[in-house]
């Protein structure tokens, strides 16, 4: 035992000596990034895929790059003003607290709320969890029912499933073929014991915008709290908690060119909505979300909200024209291209397309130089077609062929043109290889064939 201990200590000292003399660990991540960029010239090989350079990024629904102006606002809070915002005894704490409160006002101002109604969380997933489980747990004596939709984000659906296991009832509203819910169905689904209606504002996979004001009106009529996941809507479409009449709203930082790992929850004060906290601890954020508020991240989210407020109109115009450029470019060269979800009621930055007779995964494999996804990042690893598209009633063979193009603030026209070029080339190549396309060209109706199911 003693000899073993001795040997291990000896090894450790030898090893540490070795590392200190021969290998200096990079202290700065900036250096690591710089090294990465040096490699770009002779191509990147990752996950068995070799590409000549970094792909162009068309996946802003998954996450967006941090706006340099946001990073500028954040950096001082990492390097010099690193105090804990909850420290009450010194200047470090006070200045951090001021910064957090300023960020709270910036977020509140973008959504038309009072700063007192905003609490910071780790992201929209956490906000959704607090909203759904927190509200129902708090009012569990009287309220036993939740209404949501079939096309919600996984974290909402999973929270609802969790409630079901605890004995609550959940109604999953179907959507019409354009992805929008039927308001009459919502109205008839509300019961006296309904504790929450949760409908996302902008869908993450297909980008359709739900009629928020009308839903809010119905909820007001029946006096049911209304929660919305506005992670994909914030900073992209005008969000107003009064107009929408929401009681709770989930927001995310990294979808609006802010940092990852921060989000916010809007909680209405009048009439007051109460939630049971999901995390216990020091009672930060009015006891609703314990844990030290990450000042740099929160400052970043605040800055991102302020920028979004300033640039929303400009961004919208630009993104709309880029979307048209992409769609027209693809449709000019290819037939059988279908836009999934309503074409009118949609956020322009999200274009979900199905290319008939071409399987989505093989298309993605060919589009190595374009970073796009076949749906949400959470489900792109599975072989199942997207549940959102299935809820829309898209044919299963078409649901296998969808690709989501995300256009953001930093997307350029050249990137769109290149994406169109590559997509058209790849789709043509795969259609040349597709037995289904051949049959259709021969005039055979694919739906008439007795397929052997696997």
């Amino acid at each position: 035992m003693a000899s073993k201990l001795l040997a291990s200590t000896l090894r450790q000292t030898l090893l540490s000596k070795f590392t200190t003399t021969h290998h200096v660990r990079p202290l700065s991540t900036a250096a690591a990034v710089a090294a990465d960029y040096h490699e770009d010239t002779d191509g990147i090989t990752m996950k068995g895929v070799k590409i000549s350079g970094r792909p162009l990024y068309l996946d802003v629904q998954a996450t967006s790059p941090v706006d340099p102006r946001v990073l500028d606002a954040m950096l001082p809070f990492y390097l010099s003003r690193y105090g804990n915002p909850h420290s009450r005894t010194h200047l470090f704490g006070w200045e951090s607290e001021n910064a957090v409160e300023a960020a709270r006002s910036q977020v509140a101002s973008l959504i038309g709320a009072s700063p007192k109604e905003v609490i910071f969380t780790s992201g929209a997933t956490e906000s959704n969890n607090i909203s759904i489980k927190g509200v129902l747990h708090f009012y569990k004596d009287k309220k036993r029912h939740v209404i949501t939709t079939q096309t919600e984000h996984k974290c909402v659906l999973d929270s609802c499933r969790h409630l079901q296991q605890e004995g609550f009832e959940v109604t999953y509203l179907p959507v019409k073929s354009d992805g929008i819910i039927d308001l009459d169905q919502l109205r008839s689904a509300i019961r006296p014991d309904t504790g929450l209606v949760s409908v996302m504002a902008v869908n993450n996979e297909i980008g359709v915008i739900q009629p928020m004001e009308e839903i809010g009106q119905i909820c007001k009529e029946f006096n049911v709290p209304f929660h919305t996941d506005a992670a994909q809507a914030l900073g992209k479409i005008p969000v107003d908690v009064e107009k929408w009449n929401v009681s709770l709203m989930s927001l995310s930082g990294h979808k609006i060119y802010g940092p990852k790992g921060v989000g916010a929850l809007y909680l209405r004060r009048r009439p007051r909505i109460r939630v049971e906290p999901q995390m216990n601890g020091g009672g930060q954020e009015r006891g609703l979300r314990s844990g030290t508020v990450p000042t740099p991240l929160v400052v970043g989210m605040g800055a991102a909200c302020e920028l979004a407020k300033m640039e929303m109109q400009y961004d919208e115009k630009r993104i709309k024209s880029l979307q048209e450029r992409l769609l027209n470019g693809v449709r000019e060269k290819l037939d059988g291209v279908v836009v999934n979800g309503s074409e009118e009621r949609r956020y322009a930055g999200n274009l979900n397309l199905s290319f008939a007779y071409v399987e989505g995964e093989s298309l993605l494999m060919g589009l190595k130089e374009v970073a796009v996804s076949s749906g949400s990042a959470c489900t792109s690893a599975s072989l199942e077609p997207s549940y959102v598209l299935r809820a829309l009633g898209v044919d299963e063979d078409m649901a296998h062929t969808s690709i989501r193009f995300g256009i953001g603030r930093f997307t350029t026209e050249a990137e769109i043109d290149r994406a169109v070029e590559l997509t058209v080339h790849q789709v043509e190549k795969l259609r040349e290889m597709s037995p289904l396309y051949e049959m259709v060209k021969e005039g055979i109706n694919i739906k008439d064939i007795q397929w052997s199911q696997h």
Binding site: H23, V24, R25, P26, L27, S28, A30, A31, A32, A34, A35, H38, E39, T45, M46, K47, G48, V49, Y357, V358, E359, E361, S362, M365, G366, L383, P385, D395, E396, D397, H400, E432, M433, S434, P435, L436, Y437, E438, I444, I446, D448, I449, Q450, W451, S452, Q453, H454
Partner: protein
């Protein structure tokens, strides 16, 4: 002073970063052979399905996300497969599996090709478990093509015990 030290450290660090890149530890998504067969698929195309020496196998379903069509052209005298063509709707692994299958059947006897196992294709392409169905589909496609050819020949020979052709292939 501090700035000087940090600059020194950063300078060192960045040099170090360039020299000793961490070894690639990320799991590979596709094997090289899958990429190769996907980028340069062999034997893509169609043969005349009405030709009596051509057998067509059509397996899978669009709803499942995979459809394979494999055609073989057989020398009637020797029973050897002289040509093969495929078309596939499916993921990269499905395309690679059918491309490999089309290569493997060429120049072989009919009895020989029906012994090709999905496990052999899967092993050759290092398919992960979730993609094993692609290799099974390729095996099925080979068998369906052979069956179709034999049915055609039985019919033309006027045999009363003609096996029913694969429905999907006929359509």
């Amino acid at each position: 002073m501090l700035r000087l030290v940090s600059k020194k450290v950063l300078g060192l660090a960045s040099q170090e970063g360039l020299v000793s890149r961490p070894v690639q530890v990320l799991p590979r998504m596709y094997h090289e052979r899958v990429i190769d067969h996907y980028d340069k698929p062999r034997n893509v195309g169609s043969l005349d399905k009405n030709d009596p020496t051509v057998g067509t196998g059509l397996v899978g379903a669009p709803a499942c996300g995979d459809v394979m069509k494999l055609q073989i052209k057989v020398d009637e005298v020797t029973g050897k497969i002289v040509d093969a063509r495929f078309k596939t709707f499916g993921c990269g692994s499905a395309i690679a599996s059918s491309s490999v299958a089309s290569e493997w059947v060429k120049g072989k006897q009919l009895e020989e090709v029906v012994t090709i196992k999905n496990t052999e294709i899967a092993k050759y392409l290092s398919l992960p478990p979730v993609k094993l169905h692609c290799s099974m589909l390729a095996e099925d496609a080979i068998k369906a093509a052979v069956k179709d050819y034999e049915a055609k020949r039985a019919k033309s020979n006027g045999s009363a015990t003609a096996a029913p052709a694969a429905k999907a292939a006929e359509a």
